[in-house]
Structures are given as C-alpha cells and as structure tokens.
C-alpha cells in the first residue's frame, strides 16, 4: 500500500471543496468513502496530487424527499444507509435492493452513492439503477450548480460529465408517477460481494391499465445502458413468462459487450438475457403483490 505522494485537505462545505479543486487546476480528486479511489492510488493507477476529503461536509449526508415527490440522496450517503433506509425502501426500493449487492459489509459501511456514481465503474450496481430510474445528478462548480440527467452523466468507463472542478452533491430520483410498481435487481457475480459480471435492474410500472418497463444493465458496455428495445416490447404487453423471455432475447440481441477474464462477450450477452428474464419475473411478482 504505497500511493504516490499527494496533498490532503479537508473541506467543511461544498464551496470549500469546489475551491480546493479549482485551485488544483483540476488535478485534485474528491475523497468520499475511498473504496475505489484508495485502491487505485495504492496501485498507482491514480496519482492525484491533491485529495479533498468530503467527510465533514454535512450537506452531502442529506436523505430527504422533495415537494415534487422526488427522493434526494446526498453524495455521502453510504451503501449501508441506502440498503437500510425506510425512506428509500418506500420510495425507490430498486435502489435499496441493488445496494445490498454492493461489496461486503465493510465496503458498504464506507462506500457512498456519490462515490459510486462519480467513479462510474461500468459494472457497478448503483449507477445502473440511477440510469434505469432516470435519476438526476446535481453537481456544484465554481460558478453554479447544475443538474445532469443520468443518461448524460455516465459517458464511458470511469468517465462522467462531471468537470474536474465540480463536486457531486446529490442524486435525485424523480417520483415515477406509477400507481403500482414492481422491481428487482439481479446480478451474476463470481463471488458474493464481487463487482457484477452483469447486473440487471428492472422495474415494471402500472399507470391505469398501461404497463411500462424500465430495464437497465451493468457490465455489458463501457457504461450502464438501458435496454430500450426490450422496454418497448414490454410496453402495454401482458406481463407473462413469454413476454419476459422475449425481453431477455431482445436484450441479448441488442448488446455488444466487452470481454474480460471474468466473462467473454458471449457470456455477458447470454447472462444479460437470463438475468433480464429473472429480474422481470421477480418484478412482476412484486407488481402483483403491490
């Protein structure tokens, strides 16, 4: 454990953090739970000359719902809090289910949702859920705060729309407006607690007689992706085994996943299909029970 040398500052407000980043001419990095950044530094794969510790910025710990019904999760809310929060379980249960798949207890205790979004590992669970639920990311820069749609936020492997002098403040999950919904997060990991080889987030929503589906995938591209064709195929359909199988097949047909030592492109495509079907089945059972 031997990172290259770096400076370390503690920020007490978002503004202080932004200023420190700006002063470092975009070379600094924010430190939240450190669960991804610190290992990268220890391998010297990341060599930020400055770490801005966000740990004392209270604003980033908020967890609330806004008047418009959206749920607001501060960047420093830990995976453990996400997984266990009654508010999240009520408003965005898909997020809570996915958070339980993140790492091990020790990692969930320290790792944060903002860190996970900003790190943008293409196999990570929470960014996938963010994309699936059309979350919005609020970032603070030297001059203003702005809101970025998840679809625009995740740009590629470990690459986001955040500028070098921006701090991720919070993530907003808009109210779905559905009368009833069912959800599921399913993944293939080599071991319990590992990053997913492939993860699938699914949510079925009913508005009146109309059924719509959201399906997001992790581990099949350089960033989380929505299974647009499969979603469209399910829209208005009867949620049954045949439609879920068709959705799985549509997912497989739409992907050109990468290969690594944990899974070839073919494996990922195949598993994405199986997991989509399983996630939809579980979501449908919850929809029925709702």
């Amino acid at each position: 454990m031997k990172p290259a040398s770096f400076e370390y500052v503690t920020a007490r407000t978002v503004e202080e953090a932004v200023r420190a980043l700006a002063d470092s001419e975009g070379e600094g990095k924010c430190l939240a739970g450190g669960q991804s950044l610190v290992p990268l530094m220890n391998f010297r794969l990341a060599r930020p000359p400055l770490l801005v510790d966000l740990g004392q910025v209270d604003e980033l710990r908020q967890l609330r719902h806004d008047d418009d019904g959206s749920l607001v999760v501060g960047a420093l809310v830990t995976h453990r809090e996400v997984a266990g929060s009654p508010l999240i379980a009520e408003r965005v249960p898909l997020l809570a289910e996915a958070a339980r798949e993140v790492g091990h207890a020790a990692i969930r205790n320290r790792g944060t949702i903002g860190g996970s979004f900003a790190h943008a590992d293409p196999v990570a669970e929470l960014p996938c859920v963010g994309l699936t639920l059309d979350a919005e990311i609020v970032a603070a820069g030297p001059h203003r705060r702005r809101t970025i749609a998840a679809a625009d936020f995740f740009q590629g492997p470990f690459t986001t729309a955040l500028a070098a002098d921006e701090v991720l403040v919070e993530i907003r999950f808009p109210a779905s407006g559905a009368e009833r919904s069912g959800w599921a997060f399913c993944e293939l990991a080599r071991r319990r607690g590992d990053l997913a080889v492939v993860g699938v987030a699914a949510q079925l929503e009913r508005r009146g007689q109309r059924l719509s589906a959201r399906i997001g995938l992790a581990g099949v591209a350089g960033r989380p992706v929505r299974a647009v064709a499969a979603e469209a195929g399910l829209s208005g359909a009867t949620p049954d085994a045949a439609s879920f199988r068709a959705a799985g097949e549509a997912v497989a047909a739409s992907l050109a996943p990468p290969s690594d030592i944990h899974g070839s492109a073919a494996l990922r495509r195949r598993v994405a299909s199986v997991l989509t079907e399983r996630a939809l089945e579980r979501a449908a059972r919850r929809l029925e029970a709702a």
């Binding site: 454990m1 031997k2 990172p3 290259a4 040398s5 391998f43 010297r44 293939l188 080599r190 071991r191 319990r192 607690g193 590992d194 990053l195 080889v197 030592i261 944990h262 899974g263 070839s264 494996l267 195949r270 598993v271 199986v274 997991l275 399983r278």
Partner: protein, 798 residues
C-alpha cells in the same frame, strides 16, 4: 501401573496454545522487524515475457532524492549470482535464474533492477523512473507451444523446451489393453493456481561489518535449508549466516524456496552495511512468487466389463514456467503426477510420459497437494467414466478398484509403499454418514421438479512425511529425509522444545507440546515449543510435504525419551532402585508397584542442575537431548480419504451451489482433532478455489492478467460450504506416534468431486464429460450447451 493410566494428551482437542498471541495481533512477522537505519527496496520487474534487454537507464532513478543505490542486472554485485535447482534424473536440462536479469528476461515480473531508498514510497517513485529497452522474442505461453517444432529454445544449450522428461513403464499395459472389454480416453486440464498466504513474502537483511555475519529475517518454511542456500549463493561462511523465520502468516509451499529477491536484499545489505528490507506486495506475489498446478493430461484407460480398471496410459504436460526453482526443481510436479496418477487403486499395468515444460511464465514450484489435484482429476474422472460405460454406480466402481487395506504395506505399480490404509472402510463409511441412497433419492425428486442436482465422489491417498528413501527415489538434489528436535528441561522442570519444522498455521506449538508432554508426563502448559531461528535450533529441513507431526513429532518424541530416560537413571541412583523398576507418570518418577516411592520431576531437574554432586558417577548435569527422525523405512506415511459433494446447478448462469460436503478421513493417530479438521477445512477451501474460482491467467502474448484480488478470486467464507468431517484412525506402522501427514490432502479432491457433481447434475440435459477446471460460469455454460447438444444429437440419431 498400566500404560493406560498415564495421562495422555494424544487425541485431545486442546485449544491452540499459539492463538492467544496470534489472534490478539501480537504475532511478530517479518514486516514487524524494524531496524534503525533500515533502507527499503522496490524491484523493477520485466514487463516482457521473453525479450533481450538492450539497455537499462537508471540515471533518473539514481538522481531521485532519497535513493541510496540502484542495482541493475549488469552490476558487478549480482554478477554470477544464480539460482539453480537441478533434478538428478536421466533426462534433465538445467536453467540458471539470475538474481537480477541482465541480458534476457523470461517472464513478466522477473526482477531486472532494485532501487534502495529511505522508504518504500521513495523507492517506488524512483523505480518508476528506471527505463528498460527490450528486443522482443517470441513468447511461449503454453506447454504445447513450447514443445512445438520451431519454438525458440528458452535456455542456452537446450534441445527442446522441457526441464524434465520421465518415462515410466510398469507391468504390461499392452497386454492389458489388448485383453480389456473397453478402452476410454480422457483429456484433463487443471489451471495455473498458487498458494495465497495472508502474509506475502518478505526479507530483512542485516550485515554486521565487524563480525562479517549476516542475519536474515524471512518468511520461509525451511530456515535451515535456506541458510545453506544463502551461504552458497552469497559466498558467506554458513556459520556467519543466521536465518530467522518469525511468525509466518501461511506458506502453502510458496515460501519454501530461495528466491532472487532474497539474494538481492542480502547482497545490498552486505554492500551498504545497513539493514535492507523488502516486503512483497500482492501484485508482486501474483506475478513472481511461484505458481503451480497447470497440467494437461491425456489418459487412456483399459477396463473390464465388471468395472475393474486394468491399465492406464498417460501423457502429462506440466506448464512449468521459466526457471527451475531451488531447492525443489522444476521437476517435482511432473514427477509426482507420474508417480501418483494410478491413485489408491490396484492398477498393475501403467505407462506414463511426463514432461516439465518450460514456458515464459512465473516459475513453478510445489504448492499444497503438489500435482495430486491434477492426478486425482484424471484418475477419478476415469473411474466415473468407467462407471458410466459399465452401468455401475461410481461408488461401486471405486469399491472394486481400491487397494484392500489388508494388503498393506502395499507397493503400488510406481513403487509407492502405502504403509496402512482404510480405503474400503472409508468409502463404506462415507456412504453411511452421507446417506448416499437418500442423496440419490433427493436427487431423483429434484430432477422430477426440474432442478439439477449432482453428486460427486472422489478417493485419494495422500503421501506425506516423505523420508530419505522417497526423496532419493524422486531424484531430488537435497534429500529432505529427516527432522530434528531439541528437548531441554530446565532446573525448574519446565521444558523447551526446539523443532526444525516451521509452524505457519499448522499449530505445532500445540501438537508438538502434546506429544512431548505425553512422553515426559509433564503438564501441557510446562512445554514450550519454539522454532524458526537457525542460531538456536539444530539443523533440519522444515515444513512442507505434510510431514511435521510425523517428522518433528517423531524427533521430539525421541529427544523427550532420552531426557526421560536420564531422569529415570538419576532417580534410580537417588532411590537406590534399578531404573528398570521405575516409571515416569504424571510429573514424577516412581517405583513400579510402589508409587509412594517417587521423586517429582521438578525436584530431579533442580537437583540435576544445582546439585550435580548427587548425580551418579559419569552422568552429566544437563537435561537436554537432540534427536533426528525419519519414518521407519524412509518411505513416509499415507493418509486416505473420500470426499462427497452434493451440488445444485443453475443452468442459466453457470453457477454451482455446493449444498453438502462430506469427508471421511484417515490420518492414523490424531494428536489434535481440532487442528486436523482445521487443516482439512483449509485444504478443501484451497481445493474449492481451484475447482471453481482461482486462475492465474496469461494472455496469448504472455501477459499475466490476474494481478489483483479482483482478478484472482480466492474462495471466501461464503463460497466454502459447511464441511462435515468424520475420522477413522488406522495407525501408521512406520511413524513413532502412529500419526500420518495430512496437511495437503484437503486440496486434492474438490476438483474431481465438483467436476463429477457437475457432470452428474447435467445428466438430465445430456451426457458430457467434465474434464477441465476451474468451473467458471463460462466453462460451466459450455458444458451445459454441450450436454444439450449431445442430447439433441442423440435424439437426431434415433
């Protein structure tokens, strides 16, 4: 008084005496050795699998603030410092591993330079400034590629790319194949895996310029042997070299070598006159500590319609990496595979060619199980295929082929002498305790419901405590044929035992104490067992090859007996009774049949040291003895076991859920059941890692891809099932305590067991033969497809 009345600690579930120290974090490891003024080393490692080094520019590194010395492969200090491990067999080609590569590199991770600085951080900063230029050569990344025509030769003077080729012919396989009712062929493969101790390697060297003596703290399983090796390579007189192997956080075979890094650290300490320290990081461990297990077998099996296996022909290719290691050589894994492939079965006709092939990968060495996991995969998969071909249950086929324990000592076709065993009894017991018929019913019901349950079984014999005869037969350069113990009773009657094995998880401080306390009839807490410092201990070999309880236990028993005999002779003199009429029981020497005539051991001890005038004429005061020990014939001991697993297959994701894992195990007399079970659990976890998860992957260009714990997947608590262990105790007639070595065996069976269970689970989909590990989702899904394809083909044929 009878033998039974003597207090005995043999077989007692004594809690480990070392645990209060280790579990509270009070263990003292190499990384805890902090010497004033110590410098730290960072190694620069080859990024090329096979290349000529055309230039190394260390100028910027030398200028870096805090850097004391940059050593490259062309430096005079390392000139000619080579590590060799030469097998003494008929067909052998040698290699010389330089301490630092000067002109050619042969694997990614091979050290080419060392940077010495005031801290590891600074050393790493400077190491990244060292620039090497290479002329790339064709990398050889598989055993087959290395043996192919036109492959570049990896070492000077070689004719083909193997260290070792052995041919074995026993019995008359041609006749057996001709007479067989059936013949089948298998091609099995096991992947590159290694031992992954919690504590990585490390070395701290301190040279005293005045006395010319060198002290080296290192994570090493064999401190005596490595002291000799260091003296040889460094050119320092051995009586001026002290090796200290303090607490070690696991070894598994990976720490039983002299490594290039050790040599470099010592040379630097000697040159600079300051302590020099290197603690390996995990990436270095994955790159450059020895690897193991990667084998390919082609096996032909001749069998009779009644399930009897008549003969085996095999070709074994071991992907042995770039250099032959010291002191084990690159030949051991190939040799063991050849020797052990017939397994615990009465196969009399056997022919095998085994090659230790050189490739551009990290050097290969023995790791827990040494070739047995690969050998057992072939043997046990063959038994299952014979079962399928003959329509017999896999258990029944094994029953018909296992060696009859009544024939022990039994000499196998390859000349292994199995001292004693309970092969048949263990298999019967396994069926009983696992309720095999009930498992089959459960499987049938699950299949009715569309679930894929599979059952796998494997049997093995685990060679351990190999002695003089065995190591001679194997052609090892060093004959690791004995261990040594010193037993010293002090004036207060307390006992210090110094053993030459090393304990790094095995619990010797407890088990050896149990043996000695029983022999001396003193309380267990009065016996302290120490090890690991060559300045104190007598010479011995170390811990490896499932030997310690037999070899160190035997040596400690013998030394304790000498001390006890002396106490009895002294007491005889004081009591004026013949020593033959005395016995030592429960802390006192006393007259047989008249226990009131006795002297406490503590009194005798005090008198021996402080009242020497009371000793009989000619008796020396000290109560200490040294003994070496080898097993009766030097052929070692053979533990036997059967493993069974019940798994459920998820055919969608290619995942195996191990729902039940049962072992029946016979390692002779058990000194401490808790410790035996701990070893068994650890071995099985290692085996499950090999069966499902762990793989050191190299790409086709020779680049290692498994360089972090995100890529090299160890089984964790959630991947290791609950293990149910049952014991049989068939004493070894060849060991002093009746015990047998057992530290490696757990790792042998999980591969074949889980392969068999997968194959069995797939049966409702179609027939396949599972022959390759690890069973990753990718590979499992391939077998799923193959099974479905086989079923489709079969129905198409009809």
């Amino acid at each position: 008084m009878t033998e039974q009345a003597r207090p005995s600690f043999i077989g007692a579930r004594v809690k480990r005496l070392e645990d209060p120290r280790l579990l509270r974090g009070h263990g003292r490891y190499v990384a805890d050795v902090r010497l004033p003024g110590a410098l730290e080393v960072a190694f620069v490692r080859s990024e090329m699998p096979h290349a000529d080094i055309t230039a190394v520019d260390a100028g910027a590194a030398r200028e870096h603030p805090g850097v004391v010395r940059v050593l490259t492969g062309s430096d005079e200090l390392v000139a000619g410092r080579e590590i060799r491990g030469d097998w003494r067999g008929e067909i052998w080609q040698t290699s010389a591993q330089p301490a630092l590569a000067g002109d050619r590199v042969r694997f990614v991770g091979q050290p080419i330079a060392a940077v010495v600085a005031t801290s590891r951080y600074v050393a790493e900063d400077a190491a990244s400034l060292v620039v090497a230029d290479y002329r790339e050569l064709q990398p050889l990344t598989s055993a087959r590629a290395s043996l192919s025509d036109g492959a570049p030769l990896l070492h000077e003077g070689w004719t083909r790319n193997f260290f070792r080729h052995s041919h074995f012919l026993g019995g008359d396989p041609d006749a057996a194949f001709a007479a067989a009712d059936g013949v089948l062929e298998l091609r099995t493969a096991t992947q590159r895996q290694t031992g992954m101790p919690l504590e990585t390697r490390g070395c701290v060297a301190d040279y005293d310029v005045v006395s010319g003596s060198l002290t080296v703290w290192m994570t090493n399983q064999m401190p005596s042997v490595v002291r000799t090796s260091l003296a040889d390579v460094l050119g320092v007189e051995e009586n001026r070299v002290r090796v200290v192997a303090p607490d070690i956080g696991g070894g598994f075979g990976v720490k039983a070598y002299l490594y290039p890094e050790d040599v470099v650290v010592c040379l630097l300490a000697m040159e600079l006159g300051r302590p020099v320290r290197w603690i390996e990081d995990r990436r270095e461990h994955l790159l450059a500590a020895i690897h193991a297990r990667q084998q390919e077998h082609r096996v032909q099996v001749a069998y009779r319609a009644d399930g009897k296996v008549l003969a085996i022909r095999a070709e074994v290719l071991v992907d042995s990496g770039a250099f032959s290691v010291h002191p084990w050589t690159a030949g051991l894994e190939a040799g063991n595979a050849l020797s052990l492939l017939p397994g615990p079965y009465t196969i009399g006709d056997y022919e095998c060619d085994a090659y230790a092939v050189a490739t551009n990968k990290s050097p290969f060495g023995p790791v827990r199980g040494v070739a047995r996991p690969a050998a057992a995969l072939s043997t046990e998969r063959a038994m299952d295929q014979v079962a399928r071909a003959t329509g017999l249950d896999p258990i029944e086929v094994r029953r018909r082929n296992l060696i009859d324990a009544r024939d022990c000592p039994y000499t196998t076709v390859t000349g292994n002498l199995i001292d004693s065993a309970s092969f048949q009894e263990a298999l019967d017991r396994l069926c009983e305790v696992a309720d095999y018929p009930q498992l089959r019913r459960q499987q049938a019901e699950a299949r009715e419901a569309g679930r894929l349950l599979g059952i796998g079984v494997a049997c093995y014999a685990e060679q351990g405590a190999s002695g003089i005869h065995e190591y001679l037969r194997r052609g090892m350069p060093t004959i690791f044929g004995y261990e040594t113990a010193l037993v010293r009773m002090d004036p207060s009657g307390k006992v210090l035992v110094e053993v030459t094995t090393h304990s790094h998880g095995q619990g010797h401080e407890t088990t050896i104490a149990q043996v000695v306390a029983t022999r001396l009839q003193v309380p267990l807490q009065d016996v302290r067992v120490v090890y690991g410092d060559t300045s104190r201990m007598p010479y011995g070999m170390g811990t490896f090859g499932s030997r310690s309880i037999v070899m160190a236990g035997g040596a400690a028993s013998a030394a304790a007996d000498k001390v006890r005999l002396k106490l009895e002779q002294f007491a005889a003199h004081l009591l004026e009774i013949s020593a033959d009429d005395l016995e030592t029981v429960d802390g006192a020497v006393r007259a047989k049949g008249a226990p009131f005539r006795s002297i406490p051991i503590s009194e005798l001890a005090r008198a021996a040291y402080h009242q020497p005038h009371r000793l009989p004429q000619g008796m020396q005061p000290l109560l200490e003895a040294v003994s070496t020990y080898d097993t009766e014939r030097g052929t070692g001991t053979w533990t036997n076991a059967c493993h069974l697993a019940l798994v459920e297959l998820d055919p969608g994701l290619g995942l195996l859920d191990v729902q039940k894992y049962v072992v029946v195990h016979d390692c002779g007399v058990i000194v401490n059941p808790t410790i035996v079970e701990g070893q068994l659990h650890g071995g099985i976890a290692h085996g499950i890692g090999g069966a499902l998860l762990e793989e050191l992957v190299y790409d086709e260009w020779g680049q290692p891809l498994s360089t972090t714990f995100m890529d090299y997947l160890l089984p964790s608590a959630t991947e290791v099932p609950r293990i149910e262990a049952h014991h049989i105790e068939t004493p070894s007639p060849f060991s002093a305590t009746g015990s047998k070595g057992m530290g490696e065996g757990g790792a042998i069976a999980p591969g074949p067991v889980l392969a068999a269970a997968l194959e069995d689970a797939l049966r409702p989909l179609g027939e396949v033969v599972v022959t390759e590990l690890p069973l990753t989702p990718e590979r499992v899904l391939r077998y799923v497809d193959e099974a479905r394809g086989a079923a489709a083909d079969a129905s198409g044929d009809r």
